[in-house]
């Protein structure tokens, strides 16, 4: 089970620059849908990647779904050579996204975030409007129910 509290604390305490996106961001906006992992968009500067790697190292991140024993070195070079990583950790599952379809990078998204305080820490959460726009742009059939709910939330909040 993913420990949202612990993962968010670890990231916030390390001053990693990240934006909460995906199901947990949707839940923060009022979604009632279950989600099993945390999705974050992280800033891809070397300094930030080093903070991210140091923060998660005690949780022993490993590629989710990869066969046991597959070589995987948890270091900043690995993250900088890749982009998006789906990981399992000692505190549950987390997706580290350098870029998201229809949304772009941390720098592209940060202007459309809100600061939320959850589990005693402050973090950036993608705004409801941008979350909807990103999911629409991604065009994945599996997101249709989620988009419908997010738009209903916007209507209930009188955003439209």
């Amino acid at each position: 089970m993913t420990d949202f509290d612990r993962l968010l604390r670890v990231l916030a305490d390390s001053h990693t620059e990240f934006i909460l996106v995906g199901g947990v961001a949707a839940a923060a906006h009022g979604s009632a849908r279950a989600t099993y992992d945390i999705d974050i968009v992280y800033a891809r500067t070397r300094e930030n990647v080093e903070r991210l790697v140091s923060a998660l190292r005690p949780l022993e991140p490993y590629l989710r779904g990869a066969p046991p024993g597959l070589p995987f070195s948890w270091e900043s070079g690995t993250i900088l050579r890749g982009l998006n990583f789906t990981l399992t950790t000692g505190a549950g599952d987390i997706d580290l996204l350098g870029e998201i379809t229809g949304g772009g990078t941390y720098d592209d998204l940060v202007a459309d975030t809100e600061v939320i305080e959850v589990f005693g820490v402050k973090c950036f959460c993608l705004s409801l409007e941008r979350l909807i726009a990103v999911k629409r742009a991604a065009g994945r059939p599996k997101d249709l129910e989620t988009i419908a709910e997010l738009e209903a939330i916007a209507e209930e909040r009188k955003l439209v």
Partner: protein
């Protein structure tokens, strides 16, 4: 929640007929209840629900 950066996007996407069809099945009573909560309370509720699901699944697996 406090917004940083620029003002709200200032536009809204055109209604999509497929999404509008899905919207009819959204349970707005759940949304209205969630909107009474703070983001912190919403995520604590989600965490609690996921813990419950985890326990139920574990219990089902342990059954002979």
């Amino acid at each position: 929640m406090s917004r940083i950066g620029r003002e709200p996007l200032g536009f809204w996407l055109e209604p999509d007929p497929v999404i509008e069809a899905y919207k009819k099945d959204v349970d707005r009573t759940l949304i209205r209840e969630n909107l009474k909560l703070t983001p912190d309370q919403r995520l604590r509720k989600l965490q609690s629900f996921m813990k419950f699901i985890h326990e139920i699944r574990g219990s089902a697996r342990r059954r002979p």
